[in-house]
């Protein structure tokens, strides 16, 4: 077969995804987190087994309604996180996932954040369930993009990390890359943070 659409590693994880949650396996988990929305064409659930003493992920499973990139990136992420502490897992970005996969086509990058976000939700879910509310991330930050669970805080973070226009913001946060309904809201927030942190005035087309 001629060169594949994706790298060999993506292909491997797509063809043979690891750690899928099969209903007949009866996997016992301590936390779960879901992101995405079937209406947007992508949905992801992560299930974590966590050692309460060390706050380390001992095992995990996941499920997805998603494309090849979503399947592969979540599969590779599920391998990466085993044995990691929850705090370390929090620092994994979608760039790390993509590096692990050897890259994804540009228009597929947004698929790689799904697993990441479902995982973050699962970690929050664990903290909430174990009286560690103080460790929950993004709890009060307003959600701008409901499809992909992108909060105002993440938009601000992306601006601080270098996003200077909507395209870059989407590359980094995936905001508005699913159903697109939040575009105006996200652009307004982008302009707000650009002005706030860098005194950059942009004309936001809405």
């Amino acid at each position: 077969m001629s060169s594949w659409l994706y790298t060999d590693k993506v292909k491997d994880h797509f063809m043979n995804p690891r750690n899928i949650m099969f209903d007949d396996e009866d996997f016992q988990f301590d936390a779960e987190g879901k992101t995405g929305n079937i209406k947007c064409g992508d949905e992801m659930i992560f299930y974590l087994k966590i050692d309460p003493d060390t706050l380390t992920i001992t095992d995990c499973r996941w499920k997805t309604f998603g494309c090849a990139s979503a399947i592969a990136s979540t599969s590779v992420l599920s391998e990466m996180i085993k044995g990691m502490t929850l705090d370390d897992v929090r620092n994994i970005t979608n760039v790390d996932i993509m590096n692990e996969l050897g890259g994804l086509p540009d228009n597929k990058v947004h698929c790689s954040v799904l697993g990441d976000k479902a995982l973050a939700e699962a970690i929050n879910n664990y903290y909430r369930g174990h009286g560690m509310e103080d460790k929950v991330h993004d709890a009060e930050s307003r959600i701008v993009c409901e499809c992909l669970n992108v909060s105002e805080e993440e938009i601000e973070h992306a601006v601080l990390e270098g996003a200077r226009n909507y395209y870059q913001l989407q590359e980094m946060t995936k905001v508005g890359t699913s159903c697109g309904k939040c575009e105006d809201d996200a652009k307004e927030r982008l302009a707000f943070y650009l002005d706030k942190h860098f005194q950059i005035n942009v004309c936001v087309q809405t």
Partner: protein, 393 residues
Amino acid sequence: MQRIYLDHNATTPLHPEVKKAIIESIDVFGNPSSLHEDGRRARALIEDAREKVAGLINADPEEIMFVGSGSEANNTVLSLVSCSGARCSLHAPVESDLVISAIEHPCILETSKCLKNRGTTVKRIGVDKRGLVRMDDLEQAVSENTSLVSIMMVNNETGAIQDVQRALEIAHASGAMFHTDAVQAVGKLPLDVKKLDVDFLTISAHKIYGPKGVGALYVKKGTPFCPLIRGGHQEMGRRAGTENTLGIVGLGRAVELRALEMEAEAERLTGLNRLLREGIESRIENIHFNSDPACCIHSTLNVSFEGVEGEALLLYLDYEGVEVSTGSACASGSLDPSYVLLEMDLPIEFTHGSLRFSMGRSTTREEVDYVLDVLPGIVRKLRRMSTVYGGER
């Protein structure tokens, strides 16, 4: 691995006879506009092809102009609407309406958006659940202000055959011109432009086993016209640019072969389509057919699988050697699933999991059987890992 190509609505391989015709003409380099012998040789080939294209749809040769693609033909026709030059052959006022269907090819939809920005009123007519343009709505939308109605003959995604005859009558009753994008119909369904009385009709070569980069536009004699590409006398002053002689030769041969093959092929593909449909229906549950055999072309079967995403399905099938397409958002690079399926009011869980099988002259019963062998396992595999199927929801 042997590839099973079931994506003929996207494009088709060259017919061996078309290939032969192109190779035989490969050294004809003359500019068809030149008066000397080399030029005249090229001219003769082009005019021969024009007669063949005209013959397939019962047009007069001078009513056929060659263009660079179906998209170019469609752009050319739509651009007439915004033409208001006093010295132009077409005196359509700028504020005249354009009426199209909501499921036209993007080259129509995008062009109409552009026209809208320039002041043209564009009305989009929706479809019913079967993907058929609502004629009642069309009747309501077309008025004396309407200058052009454009409704495709066969939809590329679902294969739905539109009631072009009725749409045309509605347009003409209000004095509007009528165009049909027939790239998915020509060479598959018998077509007679005189009987139909259409004003413009678009043809593409690569959908009918001809080469890429060439198409034809039928323009009924006496119909107002304005070129999209200006600056040359070619194609009776309707399309500037030195003719693509080899492409046109290929198109000419392709339509000639279609006339010979399409009838028997239609019968054969109707059977194979039924086989594929019934096979999928009996082997896989929770599916939804987006192509109704009562109103869709024999070569196309569009079907959605609940709980799975189309691109993943497509790539697993590709791995098994089967080539199809999908209306899923992820595969298109855009953010939305197929607008055609959305317009049909398909439940959202089905819109992301559609596959389009489009058969052609090379499609065999063995190929259909092979698809039916591998497809259920692929759907099962994806459903087992799906968040929205079986198990927990």
